[in-house]
């Protein structure tokens, strides 16, 4: 075999070794990356400069260069922070409280559920599930149509169901496993949220919790839970069971194992999942629109409100969006460190 001559052209198209790229490929890749970067960053830039434009500048066509195309003005910032003042601060605080509380709750509960689905084998009898639904329907019927007091009806139904499940229920054969449970959890997200808006609204109205942080936190926790379970399950499944068994022999309880071994090792997953859930909760609009009206109003609604009677107020919206994006960008930067891989190296084998 002859060794091909190393002409300039050939050198341009061959990589030095397996871990590097050929020079030509490098150029192409970086060009593509750069143009994509522009696509991603340009809207943010436009947003940022728009927040410093006067309405006239916005309305008379695209201007991109501050000081050259237009003279920057702080009027929109002043309006949002000084004239609106507390009316900006309240939704902002609302958003912070609702998004952070629901994220913490959601990730904690979801992580528990995901861990249980990884480590514990469940066998749910199909017959018992069907029986539960029947008992539920019966209870509702008795309460609504026969006017039975609901605490009594619920208690009686619960006792009857337990008796049923522990007697007749034992003889059922078909059962559901962990995968079925997981699928059921994820299937909760198949419904578009708009379908449940009305029931959710009525529920909180009945409870007297409309327009409260509690209602928003509960709703966001519930709708984001399936995502957490789904994502965290894979991370937990990657933790060798030996580690937990070793801890168990050394005297750790299940909770101790979860908090000292499983959670620290699931940190990259927790960070990534938390960030995603935080973003989902922070930006949620539809449910907030129904559940909150004034006191618990969140930022997305304030932004939308700038499009009210006088037509879209692009400059005010831009300011609001800029201050809305800021904390998410900061959080992402902070969590970035933890979304590192290779945490499991050294756990097992030589």
């Amino acid at each position: 075999m002859t060794i091909p001559e190393r002409t300039l052209l050939r050198r341009l198209f061959t990589a030095q070794d397996l871990t590097s790229m050929a020079p030509a490929a490098k150029v192409v890749v970086y060009a593509l990356l750069l143009s994509w970067l522009m696509v991603v960053l340009f809207p943010l830039y436009w947003l940022f400069i728009t927040s410093f434009k006067l309405p006239v500048h916005v309305n008379d066509g695209p201007d991109f260069l501050p000081f050259i195309d237009f003279k920057p003005s702080g009027h929109a910032w002043r309006y949002i922070f000084v004239e609106l003042g507390n009316d900006t601060l309240r939704p902002y605080l609302s958003s912070v409280i609702v998004a952070s509380c629901s994220t913490v709750l959601c990730v904690l509960i979801g992580a528990f559920a995901a861990y249980a689905l990884v480590r514990i084998q469940y066998r749910v009898k199909v017959g018992n599930v069907a029986a539960f639904l029947l008992f539920l329907a019966g209870t509702v019927y008795v309460i609504v149509n026969l006017g039975a007091p609901w605490p009594v009806a619920a208690a009686v139904a619960s006792v009857l169901f337990v008796l049923f499940a522990t007697s007749v229920g034992r003889s059922f054969q078909r059962s559901l496993g962990n995968d079925d449970i997981l699928f059921w959890i994820i299937s909760n997200r198949i419904l578009p949220p708009v379908v449940v808006v009305l029931p959710v609204y009525l529920m909180f109205q009945r409870l007297g919790l409309l327009d409260t942080h509690v209602a928003l936190i509960a709703t966001y926790t519930a709708i984001n839970l399936p995502i957490v379970v789904w994502l965290m399950r894979d991370f937990f499944a990657g933790i060798p069971v030996d580690l937990e068994e070793s801890a168990q022999i050394d005297g750790a309880s299940r909770f101790r194992i979860f908090f000292t071994i499983v959670l620290p090792l699931g940190r990259p997953g927790l960070a990534a999942t938390s960030l995603l859930i935080l973003i989902l909760a922070w930006n949620e609009y539809l449910l907030a629109l129904f559940i909150s009206t004034a006191d618990a109003q969140t930022m997305p609604m304030l932004v939308a409100a700038q499009n009210a009677t006088r037509g879209p107020q692009w400059w005010y919206m831009s300011v609001l969006i800029v201050i809305m994006i800021a904390p998410i960008v900061l959080t992402a930067a902070m969590l970035q460190r933890h979304i590192a891989r290779g945490l499991m190296v050294g756990a097992i084998k030589g």
């Binding site: 030996d242 005297g251 756990a347 097992i348 030589g350």
Partner: protein, 350 residues
């Protein structure tokens, strides 16, 4: 502490993995569970640890029946084949974890960690993470973590199998020394017969979930209870040839061995170790064979012959020379030869 297994069984579904295992391990004894991969050694060990439930039978540690006791209340320490180190903790925290769970005061914990680390020469590495250690060092951390407290029993599941040959023999000697210094009852699982022979006070040989023989290494080697043990122990393994006893002579097609004291009987196997036979001129020897191949190992020559068409291995002097296919005689030491029943496979006492 004494460990007793009485008629212990374990099934996974219909598959019975450990069958009627009874073992009585004395205080301070090092018992090696030896058997081919998949024969149920790990399962047996995990039942003693409490990581696996017992299908039938009882397990006692000391005078306490622990059959249904949770792992953390059994006070055993286990070294996993995978080491199961916590990758997010330093060596010091790994070793100290069992004590931390017991709420040991910091100063005492630190001293205990240092002394355990000193026993396995890890003092310099206490601040490293498992990923920064070599295989041998990780193995030592696992050992130190087991030794940091005073358990009733050490359980070790192939602790040396992930090390290279040289390190393994060094660690073997250290383990033996540590165990006798600490005097803690130890159950050691391995598929490596050399490890079993060198470490054990007694060896328990398992095959297909059934205990075949429990005896000191020398007895296992010289007086195997049955063909399974005879074939498993020794490298090269024991030679087994078929024949019959007639008038105080074991007769094969190509020779005869005088065996005083054995009753006449058809359908027997004669077993002899490669080192209990010598090669001799073909015409005067007990057995007549043909040389198949010779392997010089340095201190001896392993000669494989064909006797009655079956391979038979003899250890010869390192200077032995023999052409393949040449006729050769084999003389063996009748006192060291053993007889097996061909139907049951059990050794026949004589």
């Amino acid at each position: 502490m004494r460990v007793r297994l009485a008629n212990v069984r374990k099934s996974f579904g219909r598959h019975e993995v450990v069958r009627n295992l009874s073992l009585d391990i004395a205080d301070g004894e090092l018992l090696v569970l030896l058997g081919a991969s998949g024969c149920g050694k790990t399962t047996a060990l995990r039942m003693v640890a409490g990581l696996e439930t017992v299908t039938a039978g009882t397990i006692e540690i000391g005078d306490r029946d622990v059959t249904h006791v949770l792992p953390k209340y059994r006070n055993v320490a286990m070294v996993f084949q995978s080491y199961a180190l916590y990758p997010h903790m330093t060596v010091a925290r790994n070793i100290g974890y069992p004590l931390k769970l017991r709420g040991t005061p910091a100063a005492e914990l630190d001293a205990a960690v240092r002394s355990a680390a000193a026993k396995v020469h890890l003092e310099e590495l206490l601040d490293r993470y498992p990923r920064q250690l070599s295989g041998g060092q990780r193995q030592r951390v696992a050992l130190a973590r087991a030794m940091v407290r005073t358990p009733s029993v050490f359980l070790m599941d192939e602790p040396l199998s992930n090390l290279d040959a040289k390190l393994r023999s060094a660690m073997r000697a250290e383990l033996k020394r540590l165990q006798s210094d600490l005097g803690v009852t130890t159950i050691y699982v391995t598929h490596d017969q050399i490890e079993a022979m060198t470490l054990a006070h007694r060896v328990a040989v398992m095959d297909g979930g059934v205990l075949q023989q429990v005896a000191p290494p020398k007895e296992i080697y010289d007086e195997p209870a049955n063909l399974l043990v005879a074939r498993f122990i020794g490298a090269p393994a024991m030679n087994i040839v078929a024949g019959a006893m007639e008038h105080g002579v074991f007769r094969l097609r190509d020779g005869a061995v005088p065996l005083g004291g054995a009753a006449p009987r058809a359908s027997l196997y004669l077993g002899f170790r490669p080192e209990d036979a010598i090669l001799a001129p073909a015409d005067a020897a007990m057995l007549r064979a043909r040389i198949y191949s010779t392997e010089m190992t340095g201190n001896e020559t392993i000669v494989t012959c064909h006797l009655d068409g079956e391979p038979v291995v003899v250890r010869a002097d390192k200077d032995f020379e023999g052409a393949p296919d040449s006729a050769v005689g084999i003389d063996l030491d009748p006192a060291k030869a053993v007889l097996f029943d061909r139907d049951t496979g059990n050794r026949i006492r004589r």
